[in-house]
Symmetry: C2
Subunit: 334 residues, 2 copies
């Protein structure tokens, strides 16, 4: 399940790398959903590429989908622009800047609807992924509101942590919250300091676990923040996190310690992008993007299915080339 949505927190200068042009960022989640679903953007007018030329991690997730059987359900976590991907609705609306007082007023309703949907899903196992530009900043916002010590990663090689902390401080002040004031109250943390994607994912975790579905969080520190939210919502069963080596080796994030404190089991997959001399991979090796759109989860599933990583790399190049030259269109089945 890919939860796709937006927060106007992404519009703060320097916060996000998910898209070259800040004015196009708002299309990134819609495009990501289409790339995973169809192999290319079909309605969204952008191909999400970072300022450094790094393509969206949706390319890797799609590459895995072309190698193994992998159903994808996209959940609308507050999309601001149309997508051609089919989406499940849980009432999410685009999130506002967390420096506003009530940036995610739909959070309580979204938590309830996502929980109900998650409880009803008949699958034995679900991987949960996200695409939301600005999402590491809102993730930092909710963990501070909960009083957790988690650090967050970035889609930029130089993580603008000072800026993120400034934004979170301003957000807490606007919400009249001190760090930890929302402990045990995930709906408050999400509504005041989060984004609609995190609200959707938190509701899904609670509902899926209640419905007996095994949950793997497919992503980086945003998904760890979702795990923290789920813990504060009372979820006490084992939760797994499948992420990339790029997050796991991020010096600004002590992933293993944070995962340990949240009782989250880690699976780290290395796609072996170094030394391949391809723009789609060099940027990841240089620390861009790192994770997102379920990349780490998709890599873990490919690995578990016995697909060699060189096949994943080859297919990543195929998908990348298709995106950039508009050639070789193909359906999800091809």
């Amino acid at each position: 399940m890919l939860v796709a949505g937006t927060t106007r927190t992404a519009e703060i200068d320097g916060i996000s790398a998910a898209g070259t042009d800040p004015g196009l960022l708002v299309h990134t989640p819609s495009a990501d959903a289409e790339i995973v679903t169809y192999g290319e953007p079909i309605r969204a007018p952008v191909v999400p590429v970072s300022p450094g030329g790094c393509p969206t991690p949706a390319v890797v997730t799609r590459a895995v989908r072309e190698l193994i059987s992998l159903d994808v359900t996209v959940v609308d976590g507050g999309l601001a622009e149309p997508t051609g991907a089919p989406t499940v609705t849980v009432g999410a609306r685009p999130g506002d800047d967390i420096r506003d007082r009530d940036p995610v007023s739909t959070a309580p309703g979204v938590l309830a609807a996502a929980r109900e949907f998650g409880r009803a899903v008949p699958d034995d196992e679900v991987y949960l992924a996200e695409t939301v530009p600005g999402g590491t900043t809102t993730a930092l916002g909710v963990v501070r509101a909960l009083g957790e010590g988690l650090a967050v990663s970035s889609s930029l090689p130089e993580n603008p942590l000072e800026l993120k902390h400034d934004v979170v401080r301003a957000g807490l002040e606007a919400s009249s919250l001190a760090p930890g004031d929302a402990a045990g109250e995930p709906a408050v943390a999400l509504r005041r300091m989060g984004d609609p994607v995190l609200a959707t994912i938190t509701g899904l975790i609670v509902g899926l676990v209640e419905g007996g579905t095994a949950v793997t969080l497919a992503g980086g520190t945003q998904l760890l923040a979702a795990a923290a939210l789920a813990r504060h919502a009372g979820v006490d069963t084992t939760v797994r996190l499948a992420t990339t080596v790029f997050v796991a080796t991020d010096e600004r994030v002590d992933l293993r310690t944070a995962a340990g404190e949240l009782n989250v089991e880690l699976t780290v997959t290395d796609p072996g992008f170094e030394g391949r001399d391809h723009p789609a991979m060099d940027a990841y090796v240089a620390g861009e993007a790192k994770e997102g759109v379920g990349m780490g989860g998709a890599l873990a599933l490919a690995d578990a299915a016995g697909v060699p990583m060189d096949e994943v790399r080859d297919r990543t190049v195929t998908v990348y080339n298709r995106l950039l030259d508009g050639q070789e269109p193909m359906g999800a089945d091809s």
Copy 2:
């Protein structure tokens, strides 16, 4: 692609069999989309079963999905109740009773958005299916408005053709239209006498054909009406219709002649339900339901994939039992 939506024309007493309780009819398309997607209703509070005990044809389509690889994209063609199935949005809203003056005011926008979406879909081949209670009456409405002579089938063993003709006459009068007044103007026929599902399907046909995607209409007389609409919209390429033997042998409908007049190639598949002595199949043999939710298309795809019909029948029983006793939940992958 399954287009799911509603028209208040279905609320006219005696028009539709798609659901035992008229008050629950409005949930039928949402439930059908969930059955095809997940194998059972997950959000919709109903299992669509006709007054005679006949289950929705979604059961057969789902059975085929569990036997062959078959991606499904649900398009929201005017759903009035939430569905847990992911849906593509083209701006459709629930349709009003065609005896109103402007029952499908969204038709022009839906035609344009569905056409644009269809043009962008990268697949080589798409089967188009519908679920809309009351849809044969609105189909009759549009073909009369276009001036075509097509007769329509029914989900009831005794086709209430007199009632349908009365409703269509009242609708034409309310719209100040004589039969044939909307010839060459499918948007007018759809807006005044149609339903939002037909509008969506017509736009999809036009867009898919423009985008080089082969189109098979998966259904009965409603899809033939969509073919007529597409012809009036200027589509002149070959269109195929895959339907069930239950529609093809309906004495009230001369399917072969009608298809011939519209230059539509027919594929008729017989699932061999007679003599099986199972309520899910006996009702079809007795003339209930007949078609819908892509049943004829799914059967044709199973046949083309070399799946023996007895496997389709066995799996139909499995899906039927799962629906009715809530046991054996499974995901689309299982």
